[in-house]
């Protein structure tokens, strides 16, 4: 179990039902490059847009699946 894991677990136990993905990701800043975290948040925006497409909302930045996979797997590598 890596450093900061206990902090993450405490937070998840308290707020899992109400947690925002953005805020959880912010806990990993330091372990992850802040630019990397920003791109992962954009992938989440893109995913949400695809899942709940609202024609009134502006289309977010999109990403090719292979690049998304690389960004996410690189984040996992950085955390392991």
């Amino acid at each position: 179990m890596g450093p900061k894991a206990s902090q993450v677990l405490d937070r998840i136990e308290r707020e899992i039902e109400f947690a925002r993905f953005d805020e959880l990701l912010d806990l990993y800043k330091g372990w992850l490059d802040p630019n990397h975290v920003g791109l992962i948040k954009q992938i989440k925006d893109c995913r949400d847009w695809i899942s709940h497409r609202n024609p009134k909302k502006t289309k977010p930045a999109v990403i090719e699946p292979i690049t998304a996979h690389k960004l996410l797997s690189t984040a996992m590598d950085a955390l392991s």
């Binding site: 372990w31 630019n35 847009w49 909302k57 289309k59 977010p60 930045a61 990403i63 690049t67």
Partner: protein, 168 residues
């Protein structure tokens, strides 16, 4: 307003400035492609306008229709002025395939330092060599190749059954 900045650049620019920058970079690519294809007298390149929908909104942007032997063999279609991890996307679309072209300003370097020691460092696009348009390929992961005349000549037959002649 959705997050629109490519976080790798961290530039705090107005969306109108970013949109104009995309148009300038797009024009540069279109001009190069026109010049490269002018070497083959069988090829006809026609300007065409396409509707782009991206975080800047819905707007028209220029592209190209590439014809030969009386038919369109490929289209260079502007797709987005900003995408995640790149600064614009254009598609090369033919009957056989659709290729992705991304504008990159850097290799997408990610680094983290913990207690003064580098914990992690990796490039998203290790093949990056200079700012410009890159062909994004899937080689068990993203692999980019700078779009120059030689590369573009490989891309045309990849989306159509037409081979562009080499400049003599």
């Amino acid at each position: 307003m959705p997050r629109i900045m490519n976080a790798m650049e961290q530039a705090n620019l107005d969306p109108a400035v970013l949109k104009e920058r995309f148009r300038v970079r797009l024009d540069a690519l279109l001009n190069e492609v026109r010049q490269w294809l002018s070497a083959d007298p069988r090829v006809l390149v026609t300007d065409h306008r396409y509707v782009v929908e991206d975080p800047f909104g819905r707007y028209e942007a220029p592209g190209l229709q590439i014809s030969a032997e009386g038919r369109i063999i490929a289209e260079l279609v502007p797709e987005a002025g900003v995408v995640i991890a790149a600064d614009g996307r254009v598609n090369l679309v033919g009957e056989i395939d659709r290729l992705t072209i991304l504008y990159l300003t850097g290799p997408g370097r990610f680094e983290s330092t913990i207690n003064g020691v580098q914990h992690f460092g990796r490039n998203l696009f290790p093949q990056f060599s200079q700012e410009g348009w890159y062909w994004l390929r899937n080689n068990e992961g993203p692999e980019v190749r700078f779009v120059d005349e030689a590369t573009f000549r490989l891309m045309i037959p990849a989306v159509s059954d037409f081979e562009v002649r080499v400049r003599s």
